[in-house]
Symmetry: C2
Subunit: 235 residues, 2 copies
DNA sequence: AAGTGGTCTAGACCACTTC
DNA sequence: AAGTGGTCTAGACCACTTT
């Protein structure tokens, strides 16, 4: 139950930084001073400073000392997929198609290479909230398996074929005027601007292996993001 | 120039995890095994494992060993403000106003408390791309200073009065039908759905100290976000 | 030369898990 | 009891910065 010393020290220092006692550009006491102050070894002090460094609060400068960093307000953590799983998906289509120019470029398909598409509609409370398209390259010799994946979410569906840790995703969020088939599925009277989230899944070698677009109506809700050191689960 | 041993070890292990040699749920060799393998001390091995833990790749389990974690696909890092600074802002209004219900709730204003508003228009290449509103509580006795801050960006403007590290921001991204004054400023013919980013700045005690809304047109561009271990600057 | 952080060692004792 | 990770010590030597 008793708190380890190194967490006690990092906690005290974090508090001092957040409260403004140490401000950005300020220097913390040296490792030796802290070791003397808390009557402990330099190793333990270093461990507590490592904690704060990994949280992005401080940066050591060889030969000088530990500096307090200015906060980065432009970096947000976005949690995506939370409200995606509330509601019910209805499949509209699972097919092999000749890809559009956009899809072909995003997936870097070869000429005449086909793509597999799944299209789904998200319903919640009797309302059509979102429309969802996923595209993956079609390759001969990897047959029916592809048709089973359409129940899985991005990028879970790739875990069988790729090392999971090697996948990464690029996301864009914007407004687009939805194409007709999307408007029809969502039962919109006229082409309307919708929030569109695209996701491009890449494997370790940056090879694109999946591309998805989600069209979200006003009823769908909002995406949320957070920034700030203060929200760390520690403290 | 020679790479420290602990980084060498963590690099090798990271490579093994990303390549799929160790998969999620797998256990890494024990600290003692690694120490023997690399002919080094347990302390150095621990330091290399700490690196991977702070990257979210592994999790130690007391008495058992180090487990490889499954990737979290729902956590994205969003860089906001990059395309906000390209272009030119034109101030439309700086004023003390009676707040709307929305503003009053977000800022948790007292009854009859006023708010300061700044409204701006973002132009780029002759096009109106975005409209920007910021609200902060008005307090008597903190007078004209407030009017000077309107050149600063959220949340920089608060750094004088609050400990910078104590601020945090909650963001929502969604589609809203823009109110009339926004449509007028953006020269839209009819009320149109726009991408709306709201930001609520809170101080350390969770007290709201600023609220901003940005309405973005289709021309503005998209927000981008990334996920995946693979994009870490290391490796 | 003196102070700072960066790396590393060879131990120690504890708490948790497995057998 | 044996193996695992968790914490901590008291040194050592190096590289960088300041005086």
């Amino acid at each position: 139950m008793t708190e380890p010393l190194y967490l006690h020290i990092s906690g005290r220092l974090r508090q001092s930084i957040i409260s403004g006692e140490y401000r950005p550009e300020d220097m913390l006491p040296s490792e030796n001073e802290l070791a003397a102050l808390y009557n402990t070894s330099r190793v333990t002090v270093r461990k507590s400073l490592d904690v704060l460094e990994s949280e992005g609060l401080i940066k050591p400068w060889h030969g000088k000392g530990y500096f307090v960093l200015p906060p980065k307000y432009t970096t947000f953590t976005l949690l995506f997929g939370d409200n995606m799983n509330e509601g019910r998906f209805r499949f509209q289509e699972v097919n092999i198609i000749r890809p559009s120019k956009e899809i072909s470029e995003k997936l870097q398909l070869k000429k005449h290479q086909m793509a597999i598409v799944t299209r789904r509609l998200l319903e919640r409370g009797g309302k059509n909230l979102a429309y969802d398209e996923k595209f993956i390259p079609y390759e001969r010799g990897v047959p029916s398996i592809e048709f089973e994946i359409h129940f899985a979410e991005f990028p879970d569906m790739f875990e069988e074929r790729f090392a999971p840790m090697s996948l990464h995703t690029e996301m864009t969020i914007g407004v687009e005027t939805a194409p007709e088939h999307v408007c029809a599925a969502l039962r919109l009277n006229a082409p309307a601007p919708l929030m569109v989230v695209t996701r491009l899944i890449r494997a370790k070698d940056d090879q694109p292996i999946g591309y998805g677009k989600q069209y979200m109506t006003e009823d769908f809700g909002k995406l949320t993001a957070k920034s700030g050191y203060y929200i760390h689960d520690k403290l």
